[in-house]
């Protein structure tokens, strides 16, 4: 598991107050029992942590934690290559 994915999990657990074990590639936001405010706060925290942007237009497409983590990792990698 990458350091980025670890950080994503840290942030979700801190904001949503869910168990870390819930965060598997196929787990959905319903599984995490995250409401819409939780999700916005997670996105904002990740944007600040990695200095990236995750607009709602993209965030609405995530189906599960796997999609979400892959998207963030790709944004972080893009930034690293910029």
């Amino acid at each position: 598991m990458s350091a980025t994915e670890e950080t994503i999990k840290d942030i979700i657990v801190k904001i949503v107050h869910c168990d870390r074990e819930v965060l598997t590639p196929t787990s959905t936001f319903e599984d995490m029992k995250a409401d819409s405010l939780d999700m916005v706060q997670v996105l904002v925290a990740l944007e600040d942590e990695f200095d990236i942007e995750i607009p709602d237009e993209d965030a609405q497409k995530f189906q599960n934690f796997g999609d979400f983590a892959a998207y963030v990792e790709a944004r972080v990698a893009e930034k690293g290559n910029a």
Partner: protein
């Protein structure tokens, strides 16, 4: 007309903010489009503003975060060197009853809807100092009437209205006019979320007003533009209600009211 003026409209990627940005641009103002989550929509608003022959600048900032407010005003200062008009429109909140509200939801709503107005105004005034300016904030009937699931936003809007009165008097000697526009339901994406959460079905009172239709984002933009004009110079610290008469005759809507 607002030719040569520089205006900041918070939360102007869509809905009421977008309508205000376009109206001010139509009157000649250069417009700073602030957004939080919808970049594509903000860039579309900027494109539409520019098509009216004025300058548009897009700035991402969560106005619930004081640091982001500072960063936004630093950019405005370095890009324009001044500000003539500040429209405090950005708002957020969750549809919850009072007993279901937690501190996170409460603080989120208060920080974005009420505290941001104070903090942005403090920074805006520095860019208006010596030349005067116009500040307008957007409230809703939920500041004084009870709407379903609207408690946190309603309270934050009440704070906004009280702040309007205090700021209007404190800033009057500086030639800065501060007022609020308070509207009934506007059928934007966000407005409909609350309407659907509250009252269901055909004939529900949220579907119209005594004036025969719902308030549009353009109705609000028109009044905001007036408050930004010199004709409105002597209006200070007022809450201008735009509701087609709803707050005066709420029960007339049960029979679906008249109008055109």
């Amino acid at each position: 007309m607002l030719k040569g003026k520089v205006a900041l409209v918070t939360g102007s990627s869509r809905g009421i903010g977008r309508a205000i940005a376009l109206k001010l641009a139509e009157q000649g103002a250069d417009v700073i489009i602030n957004f939080f989550r919808r970049r594509q929509a903000a860039e579309q608003t900027a494109k539409d503003v520019e098509s009216l022959g004025v300058t548009a600048k897009v700035i991402k900032a969560n106005v619930g975060d004081p640091e982001k407010i500072d960063e936004m005003f630093d950019i405005i200062g370095s890009s324009f060197g001044r500000l003539d008009i500040f429209i405090n429109n950005a708002a957020s909140g969750l549809p919850r009853s009072a007993l279901d509200l937690d501190t996170k939801g409460w603080e989120w709503t208060m920080d974005i809807n009420a505290r941001a107005f104070l903090l942005c105004t403090q920074r805006a005034v520095r860019l208006m100092e010596g030349r005067g300016g116009k500040i307008v904030t957007i409230s809703s009937l939920g500041s004084s009437l009870v709407l379903p699931g609207y408690v946190a936003i309603g309270v934050s809007k009440a704070a906004l209205e009280a702040l309007t009165r205090y700021l209007a008097i404190e800033l009057a000697p500086k030639g800065i006019c501060v007022n609020t526009v308070a509207a009934s339901l506007v059928p934007t994406e966000t407005g409909m979320l609350y309407a659907r959460g509250g009252q269901q079905g055909e004939g529900s009172s949220w579907q119209t007003t005594p004036a025969g239709r719902l308030v549009s984002a353009e109705d609000i933009a028109n009044v905001v533009a007036f408050l930004c004009s010199e004709e409105a110079f002597m209006i200070r610290g007022q809450i201008i209600i735009i509701d087609g008469g709803t707050s005066l005759a709420p029960f007339s809507l049960v029979s679906k009211g008249g109008g055109h």
